[in-house]
Symmetry: C2
Subunit: 279 residues, 2 copies
Amino acid sequence: MSRPLRVLVDGTDGADVPATDRGLHYGDGVFRTLRVEQGRPCEWPLQLDKLQADAAGIGLMPPPVAILESQVEQICAGLPAAVLKIILTQGYAGRGYARGYRDYGARCILLLYPPPAHPDAYWRDGIRVRWCETPLAINPRLAGIKHLNRLEQVLARAEWHDPVIAEGLMLDTDGRVIEGISSNLFIVREGKLLTPDLSRCGVAGVARGMILNAAPAYTRAVHIRDLNPDDVLTADECFVCNSVVGIWPVAALQDRRWPVGPVTRRLQSLFGERWPPVA
Amino acid sequence: MSRPLRVLVDGTDGADVPATDRGLHYGDGVFRTLRVEQGRPCEWPLQLDKLQADAAGIGLMPPPVAILESQVEQICAGLPAAVLKIILTQGYAGRGYARGYRDYGARCILLLYPPPAHPDAYWRDGIRVRWCETPLAINPRLAGIKHLNRLEQVLARAEWHDPVIAEGLMLDTDGRVIEGISSNLFIVREGKLLTPDLSRCGVAGVARGMILNAAPAYTRAVHIRDLNPDDVLTADECFVCNSVVGIWPVAALQDRRWPVGPVTRRLQSLFGERWPPVA
């Protein structure tokens, strides 16, 4: 429940957001959450690519890269470790669903937070996860995009208060396993790495992309395919990932227990040279 | 594309919204859009009921009614005709999807707009509508609720720029007709009034509820059921409704043309004594 260290709204320090903002009214925008180290955003080229692709996915014109980068540089400067959230919204465009492209551009909202304070054990020994009852709706038009319509994740996260459970796994309305509330999911089976198909719903995160790119060096094969809950429970290894925490092994789900597996441990090194304190 | 005449954020005139607002970050909130006449919100008991039910539907604690009503009264005072938008968000609760109920309450954002400037012919002769390609995702957990996750409506409304088309009709991902982008849909067939089942997706609006309550006096029967596009195209009458415009007859869809039918015209009187200028 950390408060932001600093906020920049279109480059203005500490500003609020107009009550007319279309991000607020409709979720008409996209976002990224990423790590900052030594005053610089991590994996910036990948994060920028994804931000631009997601903006294009909902027909949002992002600010010029030079302006965005200068604001990101401004807010991150001097911070040894932090989390940066970048929100781009369609800005102001009057009452009603119709956008007013010609008159108004995207609004860029940057929020800088302290680094997360998770226990070291989350990286070292793994986390306990649960199944969420709130389903993810299927809409291929929005699948994969990290947009601002995240009420499903909010409702899923509100299903439990037990601090021992670090993440919830979400199914789509047809019962397929899709992702964690704020992470992507991978399993390992017979040396093969599997992760859910996100063409119907879910967010195709940057950490997931990094793992998919790197995985052929660590595993026999990589498959993107539909998974059901039993596939997860019977997997040899299971882990979740995102750009903020890197990789958390899954150690417990229902009655199932996993030690941290060799593929998971090897893949952690993709992220683990930085703040996740992998032994 | 009207600008608000006035904005109240938690009772403060002209205020902006903190960049940490969960309505902005996640669409974690609900809203109402309604008419104001002679300084008072129209159908206030129904609007308040729906606002409270929708807030409960996403686990949001609304402000005390007396406080909400006093802010609504404050913003509407003296206005002969206007449109009021009420947004309740989960307010501030730190980074991440988890809400912090105990520390923070709902934020109340009121925006007052000029009355809509639609042509009289929309009420008198009806409107042209189109089918939207953007589908509505099915999620019974959120169905019926007017929450702030409205990107599907934004994308649907961005499909056309022809000002002759006044509304778009949306299908769910399984091809059922659900509603207009900012309205509910009714058809008349053999004297019976039919409107789509909204248990999978869609917004169950206040105007729809008023029509369903009143309709038995005007029609042989009222049915809430699944409709497909052909049901609409072969209907005897077709109209859309919402709390701002009342009822607009549908006059044209693809090659189909309708005169304004008798059931539609009679039902318009539910709303038509006020600003819709029905002859």
